[in-house]
């Protein structure tokens, strides 16, 4: 039993409550928020290290109830990695928002930071829970608090975007809930481990039906083709800090449950029938995402489509349905979380400076702010998969896994889309940084050097992830191994049940 698994939940609950109550004193509230996230960051690094070194899953039951009657929390390398990266990104985004004035004091007073903590809480719950319905509940926390952040500021476009965001996501949640109900009706349990166990004995075509139902539900959460519409409809509307946070976290939580549920509950169906379907969806997501990105003329909209495109890559890792594929997909996920946040943070600085993110109204930033331009260029190279950044290693492992699974067409799509990524990002580079400022546009406001710190850390982390890839890959391989090891998972969650 590892009671410490509750710590991050408690910290965040307490932090968000205190920051709400003491919100009147901004400095105090900020201090609480920073403290809560930093504590969680330290905890998640400790947890990740613990699992990586011991190779043991951490497990705790809520109350005295024995699984499967109660809810249990379980952390393996996959959840610990995701927890670490999510907390890290939230920390950086919060620091970024402290350093800039993109989040005005007025928005801050409307409980901006408590909502950020609640988003992190939702994600943390999803990563740690071992119960399917509980997972749904944490998803709700995530959804409702992100809706709150999305509409904070109450501009017309925010409300429009928020409506689309919440309605389409609610359909996803409803499907998830229906799925939970159906599974409970079928096997009489909600414990993920036990569902897996009983599904293995239940040889029925109904499982494939359920798998496709969950596929659609998770696709909505992860913004997979053809259910991604909420993302480009809403991500450009809130303050850029919010978009940066969403880009790093929201869809990736969806991808995490994809990985979790399809490597355990539906693994047999996945291998049997769904791998082709997943790969087709992944390819279409990449292609449609990159086409969408090329079509855009404003910075944040373009980056939103890139998010979709990248989730296609991550999904294809799962679609390969083997350890190498999962590990590669996970590495790619970590990479894109970092770099996407980096790009949006840098884009946010540029946007704040120009007062707009329309490409044709921007220009000349390379000469004015060489440091910002350098960071953008490096992050761009990373996303387009240039060495020695994490993007290159990510592309390399994913291509390698894809090719050795003999999915040549998928590999071809990956390569082609990566060229498209470069093409579209060069457009931003040309428009925002290289071309001279259009004559009738106002001069951009000068950028304070210290606001670049989070961007520098993010780009540096991407470089570090590339150079130190051997350690991270080892961790990812362990994560994939643990994720696919249903017997190990079961014996952790249900130590008393007869082992198969």
């Amino acid at each position: 039993m590892s009671n410490h698994l509750f710590l991050p939940i408690l910290t965040l609950l307490l932090g968000s409550t205190l920051a709400t109550i003491l919100g009147r004193w901004r400095r105090v509230a900020r201090g609480i928020v920073l403290l809560a996230i930093s504590a969680n960051f330290l905890y998640s690094s400790w947890l990740g290290n613990l699992i990586f070194v011991s190779k043991e899953r951490q497990f705790v039951r809520v109350g005295t109830l024995i699984a499967p009657y109660g809810i249990s929390f379980i952390a393996d390398e996959l959840s610990a990695t995701m927890l670490f990266m999510t907390t890290f990104l939230t920390l950086l985004v919060v620091i970024f928002s402290f350093l800039t004035s993109i989040i005005t004091e007025q928005i801050e007073d409307f409980f901006f930071y408590p909502l950020v903590l609640l988003i992190l809480l939702g994600a943390t719950g999803v990563f740690l829970t071992g119960d399917l319905f509980n997972l749904y509940v944490w998803f709700e926390v995530l959804l409702v608090s992100s809706f709150g952040l999305l509409t904070l500021g109450r501009k017309q476009i925010q409300l429009e975007g928020g409506l689309k965001f919440v309605e389409l996501n609610l359909i996803g949640s409803a499907l998830l809930l229906v799925g939970c109900g159906l599974i409970y009706g079928l096997v009489g349990t909600l414990n993920i481990g036990q569902i897996t166990q009983r599904f293995q004995n239940l040889n029925s075509g109904l499982l494939t039906v359920l798998a496709t139902l969950f596929l659609v539900a998770f696709s909505i959460k992860a913004a997979i083709f053809p259910t991604y519409f909420w993302l480009p409809a809403s991500y450009h509307t809130p303050p850029s800090v919010v978009t940066a946070l969403f880009a790093g976290i929201l869809t990736k939580v969806g991808m995490y449950v994809f990985y979790r549920v399809f490597s355990l509950i539906f693994y047999i169906n996945l291998v049997d029938k769904l791998t082709i379907l997943l790969l087709i969806l992944a390819c279409l997501t990449m292609i449609v995402g990159i086409i969408g990105a090329i079509a855009q003329v404003s910075l944040r909209r373009m980056l939103s489509f890139h998010i979709i495109c990248q989730t296609g890559y991550i999904l294809s890792g799962l679609g390969l349905a083997n350890e190498a594929g999962l590990a590669a997909g996970l590495f790619f996920m970590l990479h894109t979380m970092l770099v996407k946040t980096a790009l949006l943070v840098i884009g946010g600085i540029a946007e704040a400076s120009f007062g707009t993110d329309e490409l044709k109204k921007m220009g000349g930033l390379a000469a004015r702010e060489p440091l910002l331009a350098t960071f953008w260029f490096l992050a761009m190279l990373s996303l387009a998969g240039f060495p020695p950044f994490s993007g290159f290693i990510g592309k390399l492992v994913l291509l390698k896994a894809t090719l050795s699974a003999k999915q040549y067409l998928v590999a071809g799509v990956m390569a082609g889309v990566s060229l498209g990524t470069l093409f579209s990002l060069l457009k931003i580079w040309n428009e925002v940084f290289w071309k001279t400022l259009p004559k009738d546009e106002p001069e951009p406001a000068p950028i304070k050097p210290y606001t670049l710190i989070p961007a520098a850390i993010l780009v540096g982390s991407s470089l570090l992830l590339g150079l130190g890839a051997s350690v991270v890959l080892a961790s990812n391989t362990l994560a994939a191994k643990q994720a696919l090891d249903s017997i190990g998972y079961l014996s952790t969650v249900l130590p008393d049940s007869p082992k198969k």
Binding site: V137, V141, L168, G188, P226, P232, L277, P387, L467, T477
Partner: protein, 819 residues
């Protein structure tokens, strides 16, 4: 040490930048140190490499070769592995030497107001990436440096020049094309590693593994079904980088870049990278008909078209650029032919090309700076105003044309020898003819260059400074290059062209053949691969050519070139009838302009902005993804159900509710006024609550009723500010479509629920709750105990949802943008 050299050159870029910022006055003296130190070091390695080369061994890597390895990502087979052998030494010396001369040259070339800090940083990063490419021996590391050459060239090409916008779009074109090619290369390398190591993902992907392959393993690679895609992808990578047709067009477009950039790109980096890789991999991938035919075909095409275009250019740089494409074509042919002679010709050719093209570009830079023109029709009389530049230009042109006494001569001789020594294919005669033709036109190009020197003096417009000879720093580079070319040329003749022979062993395909013959004796070479069944006439032709065929070829080429000179006006003024669709520049522009447009159209199709469409698409994808498997399940596994069993224990009043619910829904749908709709919804909710009561869940019923009441109040509240009657905003057709979608989704979910409800269930957990609720939870109401005890964490989560919703709603209600 090799790793140190690569690392040092990588650091040279930022270091040079910093140094120039700190000590601007010292840059002339400090900057050359960066390439000079590794250059000298590698020069000292020459004897060792040459001595260590064991011409008798099957692989020359074994002796006298530096190898270093450092771990990076073992799981991928990626490591820092560096090797120095004759081939990489040749390239490394060219790269560093050219960089050295350009660093000396460039400060005088750029006018004082141009900030060159960044230029030198880009130049050094280009140097470092190219150096890394030729020194590394891990396949993935090779690829990494390969990509870095693209990126550094991007900045180098787009460095401040006359026309900023075009230069930058050209730089982008070069980057996109070479990156596209490098993706193909990456796929090819990955496939190669895969068939080399199979499932063992972590086996290191070092080149030596390929080289030490047994003959049978090599054959197994070449017989693998993936061999053809590997070769083709590999070649796409090399051809894009080396500007070979049909990817050639980016190279002439980079003409707008400053002269030092062009000189470096053409002589040492970027375009040479593809040739290097072809030479490096020919022992592994080469020797097959696919390899030979493709390379010879593409090479010949470039050889001819490049030189034809070159002959017609009036822009000096254009002439040189197209001539480079043609030269690269001849290298591609040689790499395709394989065998010791071709390899030897390739090595010498690369050096000769670097020397002549490097010096020519630098000299054109001198002209551009002083005469402010690059137009061949305008420039003349150079010998009167710039005698030193004129002399050097003449020598460089002679070397380019391959006249005796220069290294170009040796290269050309070896080139012919390499082609005629190779008996393997029909394409040989093809390439032979093409090489002859290109020699004619090459001579012609040299003649046009030479004409600048003579002729009448060019007059400048009034008010401009007088044309004068450039300073020593702008002459020393070309001078050294040409001295080397002349020296090696004469020495080569004296030494019976044996000086660069060792290079051949590295690139050659069949090292064993060397045992039979002294190196360099092309004439005596037997023809082991000639098939016996070949037609006798072919053999007669070969005998005829065998003795003095090289001399014949050289004689022919000069003769032909000489004849061409008489037709100069015709050649330069005529235009090749090339249809516009074949002009790849236009094609690229067309694609580049239309892609965003097409992408916009396509994206609007899906992402049109209407929520209703999104919901419809989303639900349709739900139907599309879930129903097929459900249908499959129903048709294959489901036992047919009698209606009686379904309705067996449904009581009469339950029928009433079941019938009333759809009626409530229909009322809502067809309601004309908002009030009717609200009432319809209310009825449905109340009936649901009633169902809960009937099935023994009073708590749920209570909750449901409260929710209903609340939503009723809320809806009334909202609708009070809206018009009382619904507007017809959608057409009949869309409503039918939406209705169908809604019905299908409802049917699907109902079907699923019924199916699950009818399947046998496992009530272990449920029974546990029922029995343990009182003893453990101290409550008789099981639902309550589940919510507050057994699954209290869910409840905590739901409370948190409410908390988050409260914060969000507070913001929505009270947030006012402050003015």
């Amino acid at each position: 040490m090799l790793a140190l050299i690569v690392l040092g050159s990588l650091l040279a870029a930022p270091a040079s930048f910093g140094l120039q910022r700190l000590f601007p006055s010292l840059k002339r003296w400090v900057l050359p140190i960066f390439p000079f130190v590794p250059f000298t070091f590698l020069c000292f390695k020459i004897p060792e490499i040459l001595k260590g080369l064991n011409l008798q061994s099957s692989y020359p890597w074994n002796g006298g070769v530096l190898t270093e390895r450092y771990a990076w990502v073992p799981a991928l087979g990626l490591e820092f592995a560096f090797t120095l052998d004759a081939l990489s030494l040749l390239f490394a010396l060219i790269i560093l030497g050219m960089a050295l001369l350009i660093v000396i040259y460039a400060p005088s070339y750029f006018s004082a107001e141009v900030e060159t800090d960044a230029f030198f940083a880009f130049l050094f990063s280009s140097m470092a990436s190219m150096l890394g490419l030729v020194l590394s021996s891990n396949l993935f590391l090779i690829f990494i440096f390969w990509e870095l050459t693209s990126v550094s060239s991007y900045f180098l090409i787009s460095f401040k020049a006359s026309h900023l916008a075009t230069t930058r779009s050209n730089a982008q074109q070069a980057l996109l094309i070479t990156t596209g090619g490098s993706l193909a290369l990456l796929l090819s390398l990955l496939l190669l590693v895969q068939i080399m190591h199979g499932e063992d993902l972590s086996a290191n992907a070092n080149f030596q593994n390929l080289l030490y392959l047994e003959k049978k393993d090599l054959t197994s690679i070449q017989n693998n079904e993936l061999y053809a895609p590997i070769v083709l992808l590999f070649l796409v990578g090399c051809f894009t980088k080396s500007a070979q047709f049909p990817f050639h067009f980016w190279l002439p477009n980079t003409m707008e870049a400053p002269i030092p950039v062009s000189a470096y790109l053409h002589s040492a980096t970027m375009v040479k990278a593809g040739i290097y890789l072809l030479a490096r991999f020919s022992p592994v991938l080469g020797g097959t008909p696919l390899w030979q035919n493709t390379l010879i075909f593409i090479g010949t095409l470039n050889l001819v078209f490049g030189v034809v275009f070159a002959a017609q250019q009036n822009d000096l740089k254009g002439l040189l650029a197209y001539h480079t494409i043609s030269q690269l074509g001849s290298f591609v042919i040689l790499a395709g032919l394989g065998g010791p002679q071709a390899a030897q010709a390739l090595a010498v050719g690369i050096l000769a090309h670097a020397l002549s093209k490097g010096s020519l570009f630098l000299l054109v830079g001198n002209l551009e700076r002083e005469m402010e023109s690059r137009n061949l029709r305008v420039l003349s009389g150079l010998r009167r105003v710039m005698p030193l530049t004129a002399t050097l230009l003449l020598v460089a042109a002679l070397s380019m044309a391959g006249l005796p006494g220069t290294l170009g001569f040796i290269a050309k001789e070896l080139n012919f020898a390499g082609i005629v020594a190779n008996p393997s294919s029909f394409l040989r005669y093809f390439s032979y003819g093409a090489t002859l033709l290109s020699s004619f036109l090459g001579l012609f190009c040299a003649w046009r260059l030479g004409k600048i020197v003579f002729g009448r003096k060019l007059r400048k417009k009034r008010g401009l400074p007088k044309i004068k000879e450039v300073g020593i720093t702008m002459l020393v580079g070309p001078l050294l290059l040409l001295l080397l070319s002349l020296g090696l040329g004469f020495w080569g003749i004296l030494e019976n062209k044996q000086i660069l022979v060792p290079n051949i062993t590295v690139v050659q395909n069949q090292p064993a053949e060397l045992k039979n013959q002294p190196a360099g004796s092309a004439e005596k070479k037997k023809e082991p691969r000639a098939e016996k069944g070949k037609a006798a006439s072919l053999q007669t032709l070969q005998t005829l050519l065998s003795a003095n065929r090289v001399l014949i070829a050289l004689g022919l080429s000069w003769l032909g070139g000489g004849i061409l000179l008489f037709f100069e006006p015709q050649i330069t003024s005529s235009r090749l009838p090339i249809p516009p669709w074949l002009s790849f520049n236009q094609l690229y522009a067309l694609i580049g302009a239309n892609i965003p447009h097409a992408a916009r159209e396509f994206t609007l199709l899906l992402q049109g902005g209407k929520l209703r469409i999104y919901v419809a698409l989303l639900l349709m994808s739900l139907l599309g993804l879930v129903s097929p498997s459900f249908y499959l399940f129903v048709s294959q596994e489901m036992r047919p159900l009698a209606l009686e069993t379904l309705l067996a224990d449904v009581r009469l009043y339950e029928y009433g509710i079941i019938i009333l619910i759809p009626i409530g829904i229909l009322v809502t749908i067809w309601a004309k006024t908002t009030l009717d709709a609200i009432m319809g919804v209310g009825v449905v909710g109340a009936l649901l609550a009633l169902l809960f009561v009937l099935f023994g869940a009073p708590d749920l019923a209570l909750t449901q009723l409260i929710v209903e009441l609340l939503s009723l109040v809320l809806l009334l509240f909202i609708f009070s500010v809206l018009p009382p009657r619904f507007e017809q905003i959608s057409s009949h057709r869309t409503r039918i479509r939406d209705g169908l979608i809604a019905l299908s989704v409802g049917a699907l979910i109902t079907g699923l629920t019924l199916t699950v409800a009818l399947s046998p269930r496992n009530a272990e957990v449920a029974n546990h709750y029922l029995t343990q609720s009182l003893p453990k939870g101290h409550g008789a109401n099981v639902v309550n105990i589940i919510l507050t005890d057994f699954r209290s964490l869910d409840t905590l989560g739901e409370i948190t949802v409410l908390f988050a919703a409260m914060l969000g709603i507070y913001g929505l209600l009270y947030f006012r943008q402050r003015p």
